[in-house]
Amino acid sequence: MTNNQAETMNDDSTIISISKLNKWYGNFHALKDIDLSVNKTEKIVICGPSGSGKSTLIRCINRLEVHQEGSIIVDGVELNDDVKHINEIRSEVGMVFQHFNLFPHLTVLENCTLAPIWVRKKSRNEANHMAMELLEKVRIPDQADKYPGQLSGGQQQRVAIARALCMQPRVMLFDEPTSALDPEMIKEVLETMIELAESGMTMIVVTHEMGFANKVADRIIFMDEGQIVEQNDPETFFNNPESDRTKLFLSQILDH
């Protein structure tokens, strides 16, 4: 009875559950038996060497990559070939890319309101209001009428975050959001992400910014060769890593 209750509670607070996930690119086995469950408001940082499958994993969560085996359930909806499910999940899951991928032919404001208007069927008025609020949150309301090409990298990435937030997602995925930025811009983007984390958003972040991981993450996942090698809270992860591969990785990136 108690056991049962605990399980239901656990189910309620889980927003993403991935089990036995396998993914191949042709013959290349990119993800091997990944099991991962993410709770609501949890912040997860994924790190690992290049080519270890970090991007592939988070891109499977919103179906930018198609997996071959295992299951991914987001907010109670299973990801399969059903286009309705895919679109439902995509509008609940926001994504921020390494290279921003803003729409260059639309203004900052239009970038932010495109999906709310066409996918969420909001009125332009309502969408504009919400977009302006979020642009204020990421501290660039004065750039609303500019085009992405007129902004700095850090500003563009903050617009990209606002664009994703405009869909009022329940989960945000970040794929190396600061790797294409100059050092002084990394800070402003990380600050925005920290504020977002404090507001209670569920976040999965692929990054090598260990300071950010230490400060924000509830759990740090280390991946290598398509597998989850180790996952722990930041304290344990940095001070007492279990596996030798993690130690090696940490010594490499913390040296720099």
Partner: protein, 379 residues
């Protein structure tokens, strides 16, 4: 300042060179007894022009300068028809080329490679002599395409006829004013949006207004325009208009040839939209058709439009190959026949060059406007 002086000196040298070339040429021509003057413009042209849909032609009355106008108008006619058709066909083929359907993509690849690489003159002669002249039936057995009929003499098409030119002009003016009205309506709606945040379906309202208003005015003015359909009589068609076979062959070949280039532009334009753009569109939940309409097409068009406008200019220039099939455009009736008749090579060739030069300047003008608009919305 220094560069301005250098430019000024250069300009002077170029002008001086041109002037001396001109003077030497005139001198040499006069030495050989060739007069250069425009006096022949008003003399009657002693040859027949069979196709002149816009200006009245009468053998023994039409002057040389009118022949020039007829040629220019005929060139513009085939160019406009070709541009419209090549654009539609080129976009269709180019989109097929980018599709994931293997057959469609390979078909358009072969289409582009064949028609882009074969000499145009050969293509014109192939379609005209080997296909149309050889296989098209006489008028009585015309091939029927809706209200169009194709036979060995050409293509019969419906013809819009202005019943009452006065009312027709009034109608045009009312259309013009309805557009002005829409312009002010949009300005007002935009202003209201910024002030109060209230939105209106501006585009649909404008469209409905223009359509309703112009149809209403059309009937109010007693229907100043009717469409005359071609009807098969005893031996030939009555009513409608006819594109004679040389025009049809030329139009057809120019369309096929240019569409291959436009298709390639379209393919390149679609390919230029980066994978990241598509991923971003998918990640915010846009459906496939929304992504195509709002993310891919607007970006692809920026790559497609400039080279396509240059293709329009190429098509216009290429229309001078009409001599092969006897279509009476400006090079045929002016730079060839009129020149042979009058011997006024200098003036005739110069006028022909100036005409094509004007086409080219017009094209660059349009291109510049387009590029400036794009730049405005990017920086």
């Amino acid at each position: 300042m220094r560069s301005a002086i250098i430019q000024g000196v250069l300009l002077f040298i170029v002008c001086y060179a041109l002037l001396s070339i001109y003077q030497t040429t005139i001198f040499n021509l006069e030495e050989r007894g060739i007069k250069t003057s425009t006096s022949f413009f008003d003399s009657v042209a002693p040859f027949k022009v069979g196709f002149s849909p816009f200006l009245d032609y009468e053998l023994g009355k039409t002057t040389y300068i009118e022949i020039f106008y007829i040629g220019v108008l005929n060139t513009i006619l085939v160019a406009v028809l070709g541009i419209v058709a090549a654009t539609i066909l080129g976009f269709a083929i180019g989109i097929m080329r980018s599709s994931s359907n293997w057959l469609a993509s390979k078909f358009s690849l072969v289409y582009v490679e064949i028609f882009r690489n074969m000499p145009l003159l050969l293509q014109i002669m192939f379609w005209n002599f080997a296909i149309f002249l050889a296989f098209l039936p006489p008028p009585k057995q015309s091939l029927e395409f809706g209200v169009f009929y194709l036979n060995g003499r050409g293509l019969q098409t419906p013809l819009p006829i202005i019943e009452n030119s006065n009312n027709f002009n009034i109608w045009l003016v009312t259309i013009f004013f309805s557009f002005i009205g829409v312009y002010f309506f949009r300005r007002w709606a935009k202003k209201r949006f910024f002030e109060t945040g209230k939105t209106l379906p501006v585009f649909s309202l404008s469209l409905v207004f223009i359509i309703l208003f112009t149809t209403l005015m059309f009937y109010a003015l007693g229907g100043p325009l009717t469409i005359e359909l071609p009807v098969l009589g005893k031996f030939n068609f009555k009513g409608g208009a006819q594109l004679p076979l040389p025009l049809f062959s030329l139009w057809f070949s120019l369309t096929i040839y240019t569409s291959a280039f436009i298709a390639e532009n379209v393919r390149a334009g679609i390919a230029s939209v980066s994978k990241g753009q598509i991923e971003a569109a998918r990640s915010i939940g846009l459906s496939r058709s929304q992504m195509v309409r709002m993310v891919i097409i607007p970006q692809a068009l920026r790559v497609i439009i400039p080279p396509t406008i240059s293709q329009y200019l190429n098509l216009t220039k290429n229309s001078s190959l009409a001599m092969a099939v006897g279509y009476e455009e400006v090079v045929a009736v002016w730079a060839n026949i009129s020149l042979n008749q009058t011997g006024q090579a200098l003036i005739i060739i110069a006028m022909t060059i100036i005409f094509f030069e004007c086409c080219s300047l017009f094209t660059s003008f349009v291109l510049n406007i387009y590029n400036r608009r794009i730049q405005l919305s990017e920086r």
